[in-house]
């Protein structure tokens, strides 16, 4: 996984709440068996509307997504994160994220940052006034800066450590192999097996 330390880029304001993963990447795209190439499907239903913000050329090249609350709700499809990263996003800022989406993001070096609604609104307004406004997402200092504003954010220390260093979760877990084996030896015998 690519480490995430500090990212600076321009942003797109998506003034919608409850953006569900069916919108981020519609189900027709889920038939693919690869991990790449999902950027073309990002918000593909909404992008048919010429007025949709992703079609606004002023925001071309943006790498930070500003969104309303409850972003990533719905289906567990990690394809939603693959679509966002493949399109070029590095981070998304929202007042609240769906749990599974947040977890999926961390696994892909993509940062969901939870910040108060009024702070995100201020950033949106600044970006709408001047699309060249740069926003910095700083995981080292747990802070977001932009448009002369800044705000700290919180993240689990373990998650932050893995993101900063781009560590492979599976390799980390396999270091606990003796604990896993010991646990397996203790499991009750009445638990079911599938075979």
């Amino acid at each position: 996984m690519q480490p995430f330390t500090v990212h600076t880029g321009t942003a797109i304001p998506l003034r919608r709440s409850d953006v569900d993963t069916d919108q981020i990447i519609p189900a027709v795209w889920l038939k693919r068996v690869e991990r790449t190439g999902f950027g073309a499907g990002l918000f593909s239903a909404w992008r048919k509307d010429p007025a949709f913000v992703l079609n606004d050329e002023r925001y071309t090249g943006a790498t930070v997504l500003l969104a309303g609350e409850n972003f990533g709700t719905g289906s567990s499809r990690e394809h939603a994160v693959w679509a966002l990263t493949d399109y070029g996003f590095h981070a998304v800022l929202s007042p609240r994220f769906a749990d599974i989406f947040r977890g999926n993001s961390y696994k892909n070096g993509f940062l969901p940052v939870e910040l108060p609604e009024d702070f995100i609104s201020q950033l949106m307004a600044a970006v709408e006034a001047d699309p060249a406004t740069e926003i910095t997402v700083d995981l080292q200092n747990c802070e977001v800066r932009g448009a002369g504003l800044s705000h700290p954010f919180q993240i689990d220390a373990g998650v932050r450590h893995r993101l900063l260093n781009g560590l492979d979760d599976i390799a980390l877990t396999l270091q606990s192999e003796p604990d896993i084996s010991a646990f397996e030896a203790r499991r009750p015998t009445w638990l079911p097996v599938t075979v």
Partner: protein, 469 residues
């Protein structure tokens, strides 16, 4: 210290506890059952192959084909080449890694969340995961069950564990008796409308109270299934006699002395009287009515006696904007009585309401009646076993005689990855769980309802309850 049901199950599965520092607050959780389907697994198996890792516990892993499978002409090859490749990829992966698979047309095949419980694989006190958000269904047995993404699927395949922070605990109490005609689906839609689509975020919900205890296992699964629509990590119900009666004798349930051992362990699986929940909500069962959603998220719903709300009636600006957009998408006008909205499609099925009890309810409504002219009605059993049972009871005849289409098992029109989709502008009364834009087909309009309301709507041509027919 007093613990909740979820705390107890969590503690039983913590291989290592979050030690702070760089490890953060995540425990390493052992997973008792890992369910797999074709959509969220191919990239996970690829990851294993790349790293040269085996599946650690194929004997705790089970795969089924559900999302892409056609529900008619199932003996022909899948027509859509992309869907076919995805299903074939699952078959290859299961063969290569030694995972048991229930393929299309196998008597064991079905929607992953219908298959686990019907086999008796989902049991109290277990941890169950699947690359699918509606894994919360299995919490109905007093298991911790939650959906995961594809990277986590790979993690579980490789290690049979998941690093996870302990969620917060929330109690949803539904007390009293449900009025006649009000079902588990209406209960959970009312809960979601009450706490909102993000109301359960970061929490495991434990459903409690006399109305919950009075539900059948099927009803409990319907309630837990939609916990994710309230944003919760999982939903749970403490096991009791209803749970044990459902489990006993199922193929994978413990037998003989092991059953007694298991029963003893299960008897501890309830929240202590003085256990603390971070949040608690209470609903009065007696006030509930059949529910119909009008918008594009599952919290946008009213009772069948209600009207489409005025967006201006929402105090919150975000909710107001969402309501305006939803009404435009849904082609609805504020103030319209729900009963006067014409419907052209009815879908009975999905992991929410595709079990035998749901089909019996729908058949009771349709028996001796005919669906409204021009109405398309799809009845899709949740699994091949449900299908066989329904046919044994003659329900298929009832459906066909009424003019409904009786199908084979799969996710079908719940998400329209197979040929069962809505066309743009079509309006569907659906027993599934998501009314998101385009969920059942691009431009399609979904209203979430119970099987009873769906079947009555099929006859009436507009939203209705069976009593009104």
């Amino acid at each position: 210290m007093a613990r909740t049901l979820a705390d107890k199950v969590w503690d039983l599965h913590a291989v290592t506890a979050g030690s702070g520092g760089d490890a953060g607050g995540t425990d390493l959780l052992y997973i008792d059952l890992h369910l797999v389907h074709e959509v969220t697994s191919p990239q996970a198996f690829d990851g294993l192959r790349l790293a040269g890792r085996p599946v650690r516990r194929p004997d705790l892993t089970l795969a089924t084909e559900d999302h892409n499978v056609p529900t008619s002409d199932t003996l022909l090859p899948i027509a859509d080449p992309v869907s076919r490749i995805q299903v074939e990829t699952l078959r290859k992966n299961c063969a290569e890694f030694g995972v048991r698979l229930y393929p299309m047309n196998d008597p064991g095949q079905g929607i992953v969340h219908v298959v686990g419980p019907q086999l008796g694989l989902t049991q109290p006190g277990m941890t169950v995961v699947c690359g699918d958000s509606h894994t919360s269904t299995h919490g109905a047995f007093g298991a911790i069950a939650f959906g995961i993404g594809t990277s986590e699927v790979e993690h579980v395949l490789a290690t049979q564990t998941l690093p996870n922070a302990r969620p917060k605990m929330m109690a949803v109490n539904v007390e009293g008796d449900l009025p006649a005609g009000v079902t588990a689906k209406d209960v959970v839609l009312a809960v979601i409308a009450e706490i909102g689509t993000g109301g359960g975020q970061g929490h495991i919900i434990e459903y409690r109270g006399s109305a919950i205890r009075a539900l059948s296992m099927e009803g409990r699964m319907t309630v837990c299934n939609m916990s994710i629509e309230a944003g919760a990590r999982a939903g749970m119900i403490a096991p009791d006699e209803t749970t044990y009666a459902y489990l006993k004798g199922r193929p994978h349930a413990p037998k003989g002395a092991l059953w007694d051992e298991a029963l003893l362990a299960w008897s501890d699986l309830r929240s202590d009287d003085d256990a603390v929940f971070e949040r608690s909500v209470t609903l009065d069962a007696a006030t509930l009515r059949p529910f119909v959603t009008w918008g594009t998220n599952p919290a946008q719903g009213v009772t069948i006696d209600g009207r489409i709300p005025e967006p201006a009636s929402f105090a919150d600006a975000g909710q107001r904007g969402a309501a305006e957009r939803a009404l435009t998408y849904m082609g609805l006008t504020a103030g319209t009585p729900i009963r006067e909205i014409p419907v052209d499609t009815v879908f009975v099925g999905s992991c929410t309401n595709g079990r035998i009890e749901d089909l019996r309810v729908a058949a009771d409504v349709l028996r001796g009646r005919h669906v409204k002219a021009g109405m398309r009605v799809l009845i899709v059993p949740g699994s091949m076993l449900v299908k066989a049972q329904a046919e044994k009871e003659g329900l298929d005849e009832v459906f066909r005689a009424s003019g409904a289409d009786w199908r084979s098992a799969g996710c079908s029109m719940c998400l329209g990855m197979n040929p069962d989709t809505l066309a743009a502008g079509e309006r569907c009364a659906s027993t599934s769980n998501r009314n998101f834009e385009g969920r059942q087909g691009a431009g399609g309009r979904t209203h979430l309802v119970s099987p009873a309301v769906a079947a009555a709507t099929a006859v009436a041509g507009h939203f209705a309850t069976p009593e009104e027919l």
